[in-house]
């Protein structure tokens, strides 16, 4: 039925969009091998042909004067992201399980309202939260600590975890829980032994979202830490001065986004299997 031109159209569109998507990465990549001479004369694209490539930008991101040291921020980012994601996944799965399996009623508040409460936290603009968070962390002595940043990040990630997991759990037949209980599991054992092992795709998706939003947070990390918990986005932004060293900035940016791009490669099959479908219905 389809016209012969359809494949042409299709792959043209795909190619155009792919170029647009890949464009900034290409530009960052090529810029990261320039130095001031490669930048000042106007846009250039190809090394050797149009400019003389150097690795100064890349060298600059591993410490030394005039650059940033991305390794420690990388480590901090990883610790905070992993810890906050883990906490969010644990608390979020537990809560999502409760909301999926049990009925709560407190006055006019029902399950759907509690789910909404969780998810609605995503509506909170970070700028509203950050000043109170500052004082909250100060009073608890947690400013500029990994723990403090983890707690705050949990507030960002928990709603995501609950959102994805409630719908995922809703898709698992309740009879499995019941059977596990009949088979001698208490509620907690039921969750751990019967439900969680069947939730790996959902957990993967939730974990990916948590990691993405945790890793990419700049706002909170920037304002609630001083020197101890520099995260990667902070290290990159530290290069955004009135005379930005574009090559170093590009190298640092690529270094900062690379881990998640690798993550994308690994979890794509989970995402594409439609494991999210419950979450959007």
């Amino acid at each position: 039925m389809r016209s012969r031109l359809y494949p042409v159209f299709k792959y043209t569109m795909i190619a155009l969009w792919a170029c647009f998507v890949a464009g900034p990465f290409f530009w960052a990549m090529t810029t990261s091998f320039k130095d001031v001479n490669g930048v000042q004369g106007g846009a250039t694209y190809l090394p050797w042909l149009q400019y003389e490539p150097t690795v100064v930008g890349w060298r600059n991101i591993f410490g030394g004067a005039g650059g940033v040291d991305v390794m420690r921020p990388f480590f901090n980012s990883a610790v905070v992201t992993v810890a906050a994601s883990a906490v969010s996944l644990v608390l979020g799965s537990l809560a999502a399980y409760a909301l999926s399996r049990y009925r709560f009623k407190l006055g006019f508040i029902k399950n759907s309202d509690i789910v909404f409460f969780f998810v609605s936290q995503r509506i909170m603009p970070p700028v509203v939260l950050v000043i109170p968070f500052f004082y909250l962390l100060q009073w608890t002595g947690l400013l500029d600590t990994v723990l403090g940043l983890v707690i705050v990040t949990v507030a960002l990630l928990l709603p995501i975890a609950v959102w994805v997991m409630v719908d995922f759990f809703n898709g698992i037949p309740r009879e499995i829980d019941e059977m596990a209980m009949l088979d001698g599991c208490g509620p907690f054992q039921t969750f751990v032994r019967a439900i969680l092992p069947n939730s790996l795709p959902g957990l993967t998706v939730a974990a990916m979202f948590c990691v993405v939003f945790g890793w990419n947070d700049f706002f909170f990390a920037f304002r609630l830490t001083f020197t101890e918990v520099q995260t990667l986005p902070q290290a990159v932004v530290a290069l955004n001065s009135s005379i930005p060293p574009w090559w170093t900035l590009s190298a640092a940016a690529l270094f900062g986004v690379a881990p998640l791009i690798l993550l994308a490669l690994r979890v794509e099959r989970y995402l594409s299997k439609g494991n999210l479908s419950g979450a959007v219905r």
């Binding site: 004067a65 100060q138 947690l142 400013l143 600590t145 723990l147 020197t227 955004n240 001065s241 060293p245």
Partner: protein, 531 residues
């Protein structure tokens, strides 16, 4: 009950976590005795080992309490110094570099945080106000002194007596002083001045062409009116033969960048009347804003007109863009800090030794706010725009170490090298720096070096100086001003209207902060201007 034991576990975990963090904190400060020096007196100092991008230049370590030799005797091993500074490279890079050196020679651990300009104020002030000992040493623009002063440790006498400090010019010592105490440690001297392409303005062919076209002599502009004529003449012409058009003027115009400083430069000669004292931004008596008086409005009119002489994107230039536009040869003239000039003089620059410095343009008339009339007289008013400064927090755990770092940062050898690296943003602030020979040694042509030194030292001797509005809440005032300027530049409001709105905003801010508080701070500024 299962439930309650569960809650108990959570509570216990929180307590443990809190205690753990509370215990990892302040170690008592007890300085160790001196160790042997790592440097011989007068050793040769060079940055070349730290990065290939630094010049090979070598300077001698000048003996004194801040020298490499003296500081390397200190033993700060096991201690941590926390520093916040601007983003890399401007002032952020020297902060880092000297931190690395300081670590090497004293054994201290130095942590440097670099923050973009827009964040710096809040990032420094919030913890200070909250009583959180976040940073020991802070680098920031000197005009914030009104906000910072209550939280700063005065510079101890020991450091005030160092030869380096004694050599700081009066203007910059004034800038560092609050309520009679020196609370900021001068590390940079800044002012706005005019930068021009001498290869263009002094080219006889172009001078003839200019004369033919306008009937006037082509020279370095002495008034803003001349500046506009010259800029307009060259705008869109390819003056350097690289196939790309050049433009007349590069200015900082991006709202949330440093536009307010550019605007004050343009307004200075119209509003700073040598015979009228008592305030420039406010009437010190009534604290009524003067920002919408005819002098300021004229300056904004000028600036709006100047748009036609800007490069593409010129209406949203940050400082970095201005530096690249002039320093890279795109624009023929520019006015702001030293950076663009130093950038132009970089060894590999295309306009090296083709540029000259001059005082900011003046005016042929100046507004007299007491008589409410324009006085017809040529007027010049150098603008001591804020520059970078540094300070030690009262709450710093080891004040000695903090001041030693600043003292080391600004020692003669380091400063000499820092001055030559344009992107560092460190500019002359000691009498010793106003020496043409020093600059000729960096490979500058004699007349370039002389015009530079003459311009800078000439400002020091002026008696009609303009300073920043160094009062608490200065950022609020300046951002209101920048909004007004940006609105006029974007064509959203007429200049008078825009500045009227700024004035209204200023009154509101003054009301919020407290009139007396602002007045008593502003009195210090006026005292400097009315010398």
């Amino acid at each position: 009950m299962r439930n309650s034991s569960y809650k108990g576990v959570v509570a216990a975990a929180i307590v443990v976590a809190l205690t753990a963090t509370a215990c990892t904190g302040q170690d008592p400060v007890e300085n160790k005795p001196d160790k042997p020096a790592l440097f011989k007196p007068g050793s040769e100092i060079s940055y070349s080992k730290y990065s290939k991008s630094y010049p090979r230049t070598k300077v001698k370590d000048v003996p004194g309490p801040c020298s490499y030799e003296s500081i390397s005797r200190k033993d700060y091993s096991g201690q941590t110094l926390k520093i916040i500074s601007h983003a890399i490279p401007v002032i952020g890079e020297p902060t880092q570099l000297h931190a690395e050196q300081f670590e090497e020679i004293t054994g201290a651990k130095v942590e440097v945080i670099n923050v973009p300009f827009g964040e710096l104020h809040q990032k420094i002030l919030t913890p200070l106000q909250a009583g959180q000992p976040a940073y020991d040493v802070m680098f920031y623009p000197s005009l914030w002194i009104g906000d910072m002063a209550p939280h700063l440790a005065p510079v101890p006498k020991k450091y005030l007596d160092t030869p380096g400090m004694k050599d700081v010019t009066k203007a910059y010592m004034d800038v560092a002083t609050w309520d009679g105490k020196v609370v900021q440690y001068p590390v940079d001297g800044d002012r706005h001045y005019l930068k021009v392409r001498t290869d263009v303005l002094q080219d006889p062919k172009r001078q003839a062409a200019y004369k033919a076209a306008t009937g006037k002599e082509l020279r370095t502009p002495r008034t803003w009116a001349e500046y506009q004529e010259v800029a307009a003449f060259f705008s869109g012409k390819d003056v350097d033969g690289d196939g790309k058009p050049n433009f007349g003027s590069a200015e900082v115009t991006k709202r949330d960048d440093l536009t307010f400083s550019a605007f004050i430069s343009r307004a200075a000669p119209y509003v700073k009347h040598p015979d009228v004292g008592g305030g420039l931004f406010f009437d010190l008596e009534t604290m009524e804003p003067l920002i919408n008086t005819p002098g300021f409005v004229r300056a904004l009119d000028d600036m709006v007109k100047a748009k036609s002489t800007w490069a593409p994107g010129g209406a949203n230039f940050g400082l970095g863009d201005e530096i690249l536009s002039f320093g890279g040869g795109q624009s023929v003239m520019s006015y702001s800090w030293d950076d663009a000039f130093i950038q132009g003089q970089q060894p590999d620059g295309t306009i090296r030794n083709k540029i000259g410095a001059a005082p900011l343009p003046g005016s042929d008339e100046v507004y007299n706010r007491t008589t409410k009339a324009w006085d017809q007289k040529p007027n010049q008013a150098p603008y001591f725009t804020w520059g970078w400064t540094s300070a030690v927090a009262k709450a710093a755990r080891n004040q000695d170490m903090a001041f030693d770092y600043l003292c080391f940062f600004s020692n003669e050898a380091n400063t000499a090298l820092d001055l030559t690296i344009g992107r560092f943003g460190v500019n002359p602030y000691r009498k010793a720096h106003f020496d043409a020979e020093f600059w000729e040694k960096q490979g500058w042509d004699k007349d370039v070096a002389e015009s530079y030194v003459r311009t800078l030292s000439g400002m020091e001797s002026s008696t009609n100086r303009v300073f920043d509005l160094r009062v608490p809440g200065v950022n609020g005032y300046m951002s209101a001003l920048a909004n007004g300027v940006a609105a006029a530049l974007a064509g959203q409001k007429a200049p008078q209207r825009a500045l009227d709105d700024v004035a209204a905003e200023w009154e509101k801010i003054t009301g919020q902060i407290g009139e007396d508080k602002v007045r008593s701070a502003y009195r210090h500024v006026v005292a400097l201007e009315d010398n």
